[in-house]
Amino acid sequence: MNLEIKSEMLNLEVAGMYLRNPIILASGFLGISQAIFERIYDEGAGAVVSKSISRYPMEGYRNPTIVVLENKSYINAVGLSNPGCEAFSEEIKTNDKVPLIVSLVGSDPSDFEIMTRKLDGSGIIGFEINLSCPHVQKLGLEVGDDPQMVKSIVETTKSNTTKPVFVKVGVGSTNILDISQAALNAGADGITAINTIRAMKISIDNFNPILSNKVGGLSGPSIKPIAIRCVYELWKKFKVPIFGCGGVSNWEDAVEFMIAGATSFQVGTAIGFGGMSVFNSISNGIVKYMERKGYQSVKELIGRSHKY
């Protein structure tokens, strides 16, 4: 079997987005510059999600913004630093190469209306609404825990674009299924699950919480079992396109997300441990797994665990 046929096994369509493979760069990682987007695509990613873009530029928190834990997990409180939608639309205006999904963050529907209009004409394939950043007040999870606000934000965004809109949900105080229900009722095309989970790291030598924001979001293998459970429940209830996210480090994790119900999956933390080659190594692992199992298309994996 030649390489071309092998890579075709990974082609799939997600809510109208045609991807060469299901491996997507997760939001928050590396994603503010067009040159880096192109490099990530050249390294083998099927699509790229930008860092969350807000209406105005944000500098984020002071360092330390990231703490490395022992089990290949991180806690971060970057504080949604981003160049703002004006500068970002300038950044990506020449993009005709990278399947780019823009992550949006805001505090009310008017933010999303302005940003969607500004970015809709850029060379992008869709939007992801970040309703679950766990460490910035009045943005993210505080918005995402309010089903009524979720509904009006999604409706506003959908009415200003014809491109697919995913909603990224997290483990907050409201049930993930209730928030997803509100988002889907309002017209969301799919769900990204999950975001990081509120967490802390404290120095036993200095006694201080290490992050400048004290509390951050946990990512990596530590949250994978929770993310798998969320994807499983979402698929079971809604059967909609799902981007699985949370601790995908290798092809085994990727397959687990897909058979739990993820249509595609997002990779972030693993780049810090394996570098950008992680995209190709996951692709290769999935192809070999499919050959062993006798599958023709990666789509055959989606939700397969629900037969049992």
Binding site: S33, I36, S81, N206, G268
Partner: protein
Amino acid sequence: MVDHTNTDILRSVQIERVIAETPSIRTIIFEDKYSVASMPGQFLMVWIPEVDELPMSVGIENLGSHKFGAVTVRKYGPGSTALYYKKGGERIGIRGPYGNYFSIPKNLRNALIIGGGTGLVPLVRLFGDLLNYHVNTTLIMGSRTKSEVLFEHKAQKILTDNNHNGNVAFSTDDGTYGDKGSTVDLAESILLSKKFEMLYTCGPELMMKGVQKLGERFSIPVEASLERYMKCAIGICGSCCINDRLVCQDGTIFDSNRLRQLTEFGVSYRDKSGRLSSFIPQP
């Protein structure tokens, strides 16, 4: 049990001693086996509890017969000023060393090093290594004024300890020590009178851009250590990007071939929000 071999995990170290280098620069010395094994050009992320975390070039200091890790800091912003005023016995956090390091090609016969300000921290280490490898090396040490000349005693000790051909030249912005003017002008005059096979540089970016241009003009390879705003140091946040490269992982050292491709080098950098800003104010 904490995995003490994972250098990405923050480790708390007690400050052994603080040395005043100039009226605005101090060296902070601490016990750390990973710093002692570092190479010139690599950096640590240094946590100043409750204030900031900063990338800093990692040094090695001998106290008696024992080697210690060290960082040399100029008081400037809140983080560097808080670190500058730290005292022996206080604790800071470190992780790393990170990044690549200056290369010394086999059969290199002579090299010119051009450094400015705290950019001299890795370069004086490199100067010692080059002389140890019997490479004829001239070190240009640039500073604003005589009282801010950094590491002259270290450079002199390296010259004394080595019988090989080393030279040190000085330039100051105000002419109070050595040549008056820029290190790049001094480097140009030295290049016009003597042949070199390699240029190494670290310091203000526009100075390094000047060195790159000298490299192109005289057809000499260059290695430059770049600086960008940094958060993670492990290649995931993207804050330190220059074109499609990450300074923390792909650098901080870039060679002539790569520098030629980096159109942002000496032109623009990304601020804390990720917006491109110009090194030279736009009219």
